[in-house]
């Protein structure tokens, strides 16, 4: 129990929020709008899974928002030109994987610091897309919902996100590859001496988050017939905050996907909660920042207590 204290407290906070909503704004729990909210949050969960791996591996990736926009645009363009989902979806994931590979090559291959490399690619990727598209929306018409229609489409998206969460969570726990990431994140040198190849692990980590971002971008894109090439602004901050609030340590080596799940839900519920509770919108950022700080302070308090 103690080991999962953090994840459980975040779940608890989420629970408190949900109960408050049930009492003061039961309208939150209507079927269709709740489903739409979950569907909109699903792509972010997929990206958060990738980000959890990155941060556990003691790296960071602030270019995911831009990758999201670029791979989403690639996939949407293919759909708009009549290509089937079976072509567009892998293409988007491939685009994401390539961008991730570029990051990975610089970070793992050349040993450059991830925060700076991804800062540079964040700016470059987004501006390149802006220059190319000039803000024009992409029409995917009948490919909306992957052609499945709204009801099935929404459930498909939610299930895919949960499947990714489960898959990544189990992989981290039970597969050797998952343990490698924890090892590299705790102490890369020790991992190397133990026979793990930290550079390969890191490189693949960035490729993976790129591919997951591509998947997420397509999941988001098909929720409407018009795709915006300006999508994903601020995604990296939300996802990193969710991962950290969920208990993944920024110093690497610690954290699990359940925490990420509740962390993301908590942060994604702030804005709707404000609307349903009738609170003015301009409190959102302050509340978000406070939650992040509380989560981090709780971490610090605990480790101070543990040391004394």
């Amino acid at each position: 129990m103690k080991k999962y204290f953090r994840e459980l407290s975040v779940a608890g906070a989420l629970g408190v929020l949900l109960i408050a909503l049930a009492i003061f704004a039961p309208a939150f729990y209507q079927g269709q709008p709740l489903l739409s909210l979950l569907t909109a949050t699903a792509p972010k969960l997929v990206v958060a899974c990738g980000m959890a791996l990155i941060i556990i591996g003691r790296q960071i990736d602030i270019s995911v928002g831009s990758q999201f926009a670029v791979s989403g645009a690639c996939g949407a363009l293919l759909l708009g030109h009549g290509q089937p989902v079976a072509v567009a979806l892998p293409a988007a994931m491939l685009a994401g994987a390539l961008m991730g590979a570029f990051n990975g090559a610089l970070i793992a291959g050349l040993g450059l610091p991830s925060i700076v490399v991804t800062l540079a690619t964040m700016v470059s990727f987004r501006e390149a897309l802006r220059w190319k598209r000039q803000g024009e929306l992409i029409n995917i018409g009948a490919a909306q919902w992957f052609g499945l229609g709204q009801g099935h489409g929404q459930w498909t998206i939610i299930i895919v996100a949960l499947a990714v969460l489960l898959a990544v969570g189990c992989a981290m726990r039970y597969l050797a590859a998952g343990r490698f990431i924890y090892a590299v994140g705790t102490d890369a040198e020790a991992a190397r001496l133990a026979g793990i190849n930290p550079r390969l692990v890191t490189f693949l980590n960035f490729v993976l988050i790129g591919a997951l971002t591509g998947l997420a971008a397509m999941m988001a894109a098909v929720q409407s017939p018009l795709v915006d090439p300006n999508a994903g602004v601020g995604l990296e901050l939300l996802v990193i905050a969710a991962v950290v609030v969920g208990g993944v340590s920024i110093s690497g080596g610690r954290g699990n996907l359940f925490g990420v799940f509740v962390g993301l839900l908590l942060l994604s519920c702030i804005s709707p909660a404000l609307t349903y509770l009738g609170v003015e919108a301009y409190w959102e950022k302050a509340i978000q920042g406070t939650i992040i700080l509380l989560a981090v302070v709780a971490d610090g308090w605990r480790s101070r207590k543990n040391k004394n």
């Binding site: 939150f28 209507q30 709008p33 803000g135 709204q150 988001a220 300006n230 804005s271 349903y276």
Partner: protein, 343 residues
């Protein structure tokens, strides 16, 4: 060794300052070129609020058309997303690079006026379009519709669709977006004056993000079960809100109107989700702006003129100071006419 570096750096800066001052007054770089030869190729700087915004891209298309016809060079540049400080910097760089006339859509009325006054002092002509600056910072404002006109048009249409009674909500861009805040002022003014049985129940930002706007619209509908209408005053929020209404299964229960581009909203108007979008011909706005800018430099448009002629069209110049060139009234794009437009 570090001292050498610092010395070299200082020397570099000093040298740069000496720059080209030997060719004389670098200070008054573009004292108004004598408008003698009409064959002069003018350089016109067109500054949007955000370069990647499809609205401004369509304005720029019309502007480029005018520039091509007149034989002028058009520079279309600015911040890639709303940023008042970058707008100022772009204007200042244009002043220093010797453009002949600057046409701006202000993200922020007060702060952009500062460098524009400098431009006018240096003999560079200034016009504004879409979003005005302070009157003393420009010669003319190419006005597609006053904020009051826009606000009232939206509120009146909303009332008409709701039978003059009921609740409505507004989705805006970001909370700090100046244009939107001004329109809200007039929407609420019209509401208070003329529609006592209607109520604005909420005002939420969509942050110019399609997904966020769509989610916000969904939340508004379920948080306010009696909601009759969503007014989207950020152009990306109009199709987003429509999609939200469609997915919530509330076509016909909740109306959608807003300020949006026809192309982005055609399918929703035809599906009956969005009743109409209110806008103006953005290409014409760009075209008129460049024509006015050109004429201002060449002297065919002067302060005090009552009309401005372009080809065979004549535009009224009105406003308290007779400095608003009026494009015309806002156009309502609905089922009957939206297909005729491509922007």
């Amino acid at each position: 060794m570090k001292r050498i570096l610092v010395l070299l750096l200082t020397a570099g800066l000093v040298l740069s300052g000496c720059g080209k001052s030997d060719t004389g007054s670098s200070a008054d770089s573009s004292s108004a070129a004598p408008a003698a030869s009409g064959a002069k190729k003018l350089t016109i700087g067109l500054l949007p609020k955000a370069k990647g915004n499809p609205y401004f891209v369509s304005v720029a298309k019309g502007a480029q058309k005018a520039a091509d016809e007149l034989g002028d060079t058009l520079i279309f540049d600015g911040p890639t997303n709303d940023d008042a400080s970058k707008q100022n910097e772009t204007v200042e760089n244009w002043i220093n690079s010797g453009v002949d006339v600057i046409a701006v859509a202000a993200e922020d009325k007060d702060s952009l006026s500062t460098p524009l006054r400098k431009a006018e002092a240096k003999g560079i002509k200034v016009v504004s379009f879409d979003a005005d600056v302070l009157p003393d910072a420009r010669s003319f404002f190419v006005n597609q519709a006053t904020p009051q006109g826009i606000g009232y048009a939206l509120m009146d249409k909303a009332a008409q669709l709701s039978g003059n009674t009921g609740e409505f909500a507004i989705i805006t861009a970001s909370l700090t977006a100046a244009n939107q805040n001004e329109w809200r002022k007039y929407i609420e003014e019209d509401l208070a004056k003329n529609y006592p049985n209607m109520k604005e129940v909420d005002f939420r930002p969509g942050n110019d993000d399609k997904t966020t706007s769509q989610t916000v619209a969904t939340e508004l509908m379920s948080a306010h079960p009696n909601l009759k209408l969503i007014m989207a005053i950020s152009s990306i929020a109009v199709p987003a809100a429509a999609e939200a209404v469609k997915q919530a299964g509330k076509i016909g229960t909740v109306n959608v109107i807003g300020l949006g581009l026809p192309n982005e909203n055609k399918q929703y108007v035809h599906d009956g989700v969005t009743n109409c979008v209110i806008l103006w011909n953005t290409g014409d706005l760009g075209y008129l702006t460049v024509q006015a800018a050109d004429a201002l430099v060449k002297g065919t448009l002067k302060p005090g003129d009552k009309t401005f002629k372009v080809g065979d069209k004549s535009y009224d110049i009105a406003g308290d100071k007779n400095d608003n060139i009026l494009l015309g009234a806002p156009t309502v794009f609905d089922k009957s006419n939206i297909d005729q437009f491509d922007f």
